[in-house]
Amino acid sequence: MKKLSIVTACAAILLGGATNIWAQDQVAQVRSLAATCFTCHGNEGRSVGGVPPALAGRDKGELLQALRDFKEGKRPATIMHQHAKGYTDQQLEAIAGYFSAVKAGPATPAPAARGGN
């Protein structure tokens, strides 16, 4: 319930336009951190074909647990254990929080060239 009240508080602050420069700076930093994942997992974690898996809209706790398990080598992976080791626990938490707050749904695929080549 505590979490809900925080969400409400955030929403109130945002809707009230009370974000200051410092907050915007934080937004951009967390977004840039999450954006390093977009390359494989899709814009905003909305994987176009679902492979690699979409991250958008997934539970923060589940994402964070997976990232920690990859980092500690507890969860088998082809590549994610190698990537997760590059981030601090704090960064992984910020990344998990970011994707959990994004609405799920696939990103727009790149359009095929008209008329081919």
Binding site: K2, V30, V51, T108, N117
Partner: protein, 423 residues
């Protein structure tokens, strides 16, 4: 459960990030600034998309010389017939739909003093910040035999995906069974470190299937395979045993296009199809406009912003940059440069602080045949002591072995990175 102040701020950050994503951010109002992007490849198109997506009030124009985008990653598969040109060729209308102006044209100068980009047709575009993403061009100076257009048509590089990719495929198809494919690799650094060795796998895959009496001679200027050496050797000695001859330290002296011979310092190697990848430098526009700052080849940048080291207001991305330690010239990396640059360009235009600690991540997948793939990965963090991106110790690494599972990830990576640039 309680959240401390720091976690609360992270929550806010994530929540407002989502608000911007779902379209709650304001899009109306006067322009906050003008960004011109030179080059619509992996670096330029992605940077344009994110400047617009993260700050809809900035005017963004991309100038690109080609009508369509052809992906270098995956293009080696065309050589084997494992995919077709149509699958790696995409249009710019997705970027246009996002409100980015895409102009087809040739940039002839970036005038940093006047803050203008000049085009071949005589027109010019004013900017507040310019992002130059010119890719690479080739250094032919030391190859006398490849000075003429005719010679370059016979001996292709096919190191920029496009017409040369299709033409090299045709040459391989036309070659007799029992023929020899001679492939020359330049001294590193070049675009796509594992790319040459993936190409060898793809041509071998085709020969094994369609022309089993044929042979591949790999002439590498480097002392060993530049990337994924053990993994590629395993593929060559396993899947393609007896088909590939690898010669290290094979420095190029010249090419005889009429005699179909690659001339090395102490040896001549004749073939039925020659493929010579010349040494590379930042793309032509970087040279003509004076952006090259290192070894007469690459453009030095500040990695917190990708801003050019010499003049403010000019940013350079992708393969054209002087790479930070252990940073490959790859599509993944150009995509990551683009996002760091886009965020910084927005902050600089709006007078906000730039992220002092950017992170970048690299993934390069290589196909050993039509389906099996292996990767090399790395994570790079800004080091404020050395003022550069440094690979994070203990992170990154290679596949244990090539697998079809990673084949599905490689195609997924391609779909998602294409979607980021052009979707």
């Amino acid at each position: 459960m309680t959240l401390n102040r720091r976690e609360f701020m992270k929550w806010m950050a994530a929540t407002s990030g989502a608000a911007a994503v779902s379209g709650c951010a304001s899009t109306a109002g006067p322009s906050a600034g003008r960004v011109v992007v030179v080059g619509g490849g992996y670096g330029g198109a992605t940077a344009a998309r994110y400047v617009k997506e993260w700050s809809p009030d900035i005017d963004v124009t991309v100038i690109e010389r080609n009508e369509v985008f052809v992906s270098c990653p995956i293009s080696n598969l065309v050589l084997a017939g494992n995919t077709q040109m149509s699958n790696i060729t995409m249009g710019y209308e997705g970027l246009r739909r996002r409100g980015v102006r895409v102009v087809r044209g040739e940039v002839v100068a970036v005038d940093a003093a006047a803050r203008q980009v000049r085009l071949a047709d005589g027109s010019s575009l004013a900017y507040d910040r310019v992002i130059v993403s010119p890719g690479v061009d080739f250094i032919y100076d030391s190859i006398p035999g490849l000075q003429s257009a005719d010679a370059r048509e016979r001996v292709l590089h096919a190191w920029k995906a496009g017409p040369e990719t299709a033409a090299l495929r045709k040459q391989l198809e036309a070659m007799r069974d029992g023929g020899v494919f001679v492939f020359h690799i330049p001294v590193a650094p070049f675009r796509c470190p594992p790319g040459p060795y993936e190409r060898v796998c793809q041509v071998a895959d085709y020969f094994k299937r369609a022309k089993p009496k044929s042979k591949i001679i790999v002439l590498d200027s480097n002392p060993d395979l530049v990337s994924k050496a053990g993994l590629f050797r395993a593929a060559w000695n396993g899947l393609y045993k007896g088909l590939i001859e690898y010669r290290a330290n094979s420095e190029l002296a010249d090419v005889d296009a009429k005699g179909m011979t690659v001339k090395l310092t102490f040896d001549d190697v004749k073939g039925d199809v020659l493929n010579v990848v010349p040494p590379q430098r930042a793309g032509d526009i970087a040279r003509t406009t004076g952006l090259i700052t290192a070894n007469q080849r690459w453009c030095g940048v500040d990695w917190t912003t990708c801003e050019w080291v010499a003049v403010k207001g000019v940013h350079v991305l992708g393969d054209a940059t002087l790479s930070a330690p252990a940073m490959p010239k790859s599509a993944s990396m150009a995509n990551q440069h683009a996002k760091v640059c886009a965020a910084a360009v927005i902050a600089l235009i709006k007078g906000q602080p730039v992220n002092p600690q950017p992170m970048m991540m690299n993934t390069c997948y290589s196909f050993v045949d039509g389906k099996s793939v292996m990767h090399v990965a790395s994570v790079h963090a800004y080091d404020s002591k050395d003022n550069t991106m440094m690979p994070v110790k203990g992170a990154g690494g290679l596949s244990d072995k090539a697998s079809e599972l990673e084949g599905t990830y490689a195609w997924g990576w391609a779909r998602n990175i294409w979607s980021e640039a052009l979707g």
